[in-house]
């Protein structure tokens, strides 16, 4: 369902260029006339918000790299210099650091929207997998970025996460030493993290290109979860969705700016303003908020290898969602039980995040174990059973029937309102 190639070059130069590289026509059919389901709600605006944030992160990141020194004795001071001396350095750093959190807010909303409305189901499995790869790359990028200021949380976060690989039997220690380039997290580690932190966002851009390509084959899913059947079910991308995405982006940027200008360190840790010290571990190490549910799962398993497997398993299980949930009905709107279990899952994940932020003592450990068990039960037991036994509500005949009701029949020209 690609957009009809209605693009006609208007002037001689465009005509000359289009006949040699038809990229203007591609942009026109992808982002101007591309037909989207007419009932997309605001949860569908986060893809565009994420694309904007990715570009914003790359621009501020390249600027920061012009002033940053990836050397263990100079890194911390170079970041402080960015904060105090470099013109607008404080803005660039706060914009970039909070941008990472905003990117993950966008990612989680985008992923949960896909889960709620069944956007991972056929024919969009590859689209889902490409999104999952973007998520993995984003986590790796954010982790390495957090190491660069070389504060105490940078250093000890890097130590804990890289030490996870030492849980692998036999070759674990060798892998960890190889990742570090030494006997501990040190200058060699910082250097390679900087190189990779610069590289990975461009790989994300590449996968985002594939993600959009895979999206434009079947087109967007929608809140009802049935595919468009006629031209009446869709509206062109421009102006309807450019305006909707633009409005949502504006609201999101206000939220983002509130963090940047009023509470720029709210999502950070005070310990990271102390320079890295390999001899002193801060009393309470916590990762950035977007890793907390997985960190809680890691700590809930009382075995080093078991914790490692559970944590990576919790991330990877999301990839196979299309094959765990085989219900033919996509949208939770027509799945009364799935809808309840979806929200229980969301609450479970949020509570895991809270447990991950707490010291691993007493009740927090027990709660963490129960929540971890439920996390896996949701994917491995509840979803497969629901998709077999859940009575679903009847689906409407078409998108326009559902959203326009009788007026669709009375006034077919409404599509051009």
């Amino acid at each position: 369902m690609s957009g009809e190639s209605t693009y006609v070059p208007k002037n001689a130069v465009a005509k000359w260029f289009e006949s040699r590289l038809p990229v203007l026509g591609l942009a026109h059919s992808s982002f101007v006339v591309f037909p989207n389901p007419r009932n997309l709600n605001y949860w569908w605006t986060f893809g565009g918000i994420l694309a904007f944030l990715l570009v914003s992160q790359i621009i501020t990141g390249v600027v920061l790299a012009m002033h940053y020194t990836p050397e263990s004795t100079l890194a911390f001071d170079s970041v402080e210099r960015i904060m105090r001396d470099v013109n607008f350095g404080w803005l660039m750093r706060y914009w970039h650091a909070n941008g990472a959190s905003m990117f993950f807010i966008g990612l989680y909303v985008h992923i949960l929207r896909g889960m709620y409305y069944g956007s991972y189901k056929a024919p969009r499995e590859v689209l889902w997998l490409l999104g999952f790869i973007i998520y993995l790359l984003s986590m790796a990028t954010a982790f390495m970025g957090y190491v660069l200021p070389w504060g105490q949380m940078s250093f000890w976060g890097a130590t804990v996460i890289t030490s996870l690989f030492s849980a692998i039997p036999v070759v674990g220690d060798a892998i960890t030493t190889w990742l570090w380039g030494g006997y501990s997290v040190d200058n060699a580690t910082l250097n390679r993290f900087f190189a990779l932190h610069y590289l990975l966002p461009f790989m994300i851009v590449g996968v985002v290109g594939l993600h959009i390509w895979a999206l434009h084959v079947p087109g967007s899913n929608n809140p009802i979860g049935i595919e468009p059947k006629s031209a009446k079910d869709t509206l062109p991308f421009h102006p309807y969705f450019t305006v909707k995405d633009g409005f949502a982006l504006t609201l999101f940027l206000i939220f983002y700016a509130w963090f940047v200008f009023y509470i720029p360190n709210y999502l950070g840790h005070a310990d990271n303003y102390i320079e890295a010290n390999p001899l002193v571990t801060p009393p309470h190490i916590v990762p950035e908020w977007y890793y907390l549910p997985f960190y809680a799962i890691l700590r809930s398993v009382p075995s080093k290898l078991g914790g490692f497997l559970a944590m990576f398993g919790a991330v990877l299980i999301v990839a196979v969602l299309p094959w765990l949930d085989s219900s033919k009905v996509k949208s939770a709107v027509y799945r009364p039980l799935f809808r309840i279990f979806f929200w229980i899952f969301v609450v479970d994940a949020v509570l895991l995040g809270y447990i991950g932020s707490q010291p691993p003592e007493g009740g927090a450990v027990i709660a963490g174990r129960l929540l971890t068990a439920y996390y896996f039960i949701h994917f491995l037991v509840i979803l497969p059973l629901l998709s077999r036994f859940e009575p679903t509500r009847p689906l409407p005949a078409s998108i326009s029937d559902a959203v326009l009701g009788d007026s669709a029949k009375a006034e077919p020209a409404l599509a051009s309102h």
């Binding site: 804990v160 030490s163 001899l279 571990t281 080093k304």
Partner: protein, 173 residues
């Protein structure tokens, strides 16, 4: 290619295919290996050498932290009560069984790498239920012999290679 041709004598072309593929694989391997190996610690890092530590100033019950190969080393001057306690522990109570005698050169001196065997944090000395070491990150508890007693760590604190140069000096590494 028809199935019958495989029964025939290998041709000059078959030989060239196999030889080309073999050279290609060796060449790819020769190119990839340096790309992997460059990330490992180099010879200057490996040859970080040994450290001599003067232990004469460490009072009984005190723990000194020194740096060796970028890692903290705990040199603990143990009290007679601690020594007696760790030597009285039955082996079946230990997650990673080792006698205290096998972990020290001299009973009053414990030398261990101060890195939790769980995920690499630096434990705190003279802390925890056994008054040994306590890791604040994920709650692993070690006794005054550096043996894991509670928590998620799988193994005892590692004893580095060291020897007594004199009664007042040790050489680590």
């Amino acid at each position: 290619m028809a199935a019958t041709t495989t029964l025939e004598e290998p041709t000059r072309r078959d030989f060239l295919y196999i030889a080309t593929a073999a050279v290609g694989i060796v060449g790819a391997g020769a190119a990839v290996w340096p790309l992997i190996s460059q990330m490992s610690p180099d010879a200057s890092t490996l040859a970080a050498g040994s450290v001599e530590v003067d232990i004469s100033g460490i009072a009984v019950g005190q723990i000194l932290t020194v740096k060796w190969r970028g890692k903290p080393i705990f040199v603990s001057h143990r009290t007679p009560e601690e020594i007696a306690a760790v030597r009285a522990v039955p082996m079946n109570e230990l997650k990673d069984p080792a006698t205290d005698q096998s972990r020290v050169e001299k009973p009053e001196w414990l030398v261990v790498i101060g890195i939790c065997t769980h995920l690499g944090c630096v434990p705190l000395g003279n802390e925890g239920p056994y008054h040994g070491f306590f890791c604040p990150c994920h709650g692993s508890v070690y006794d005054p012999s550096g043996r894991i007693r509670q928590g998620p760590a799988p193994a005892n604190l590692v004893v580095p290679p060291y020897k007594f140069v004199s009664d007042a000096k040790i050489s680590i590494g």
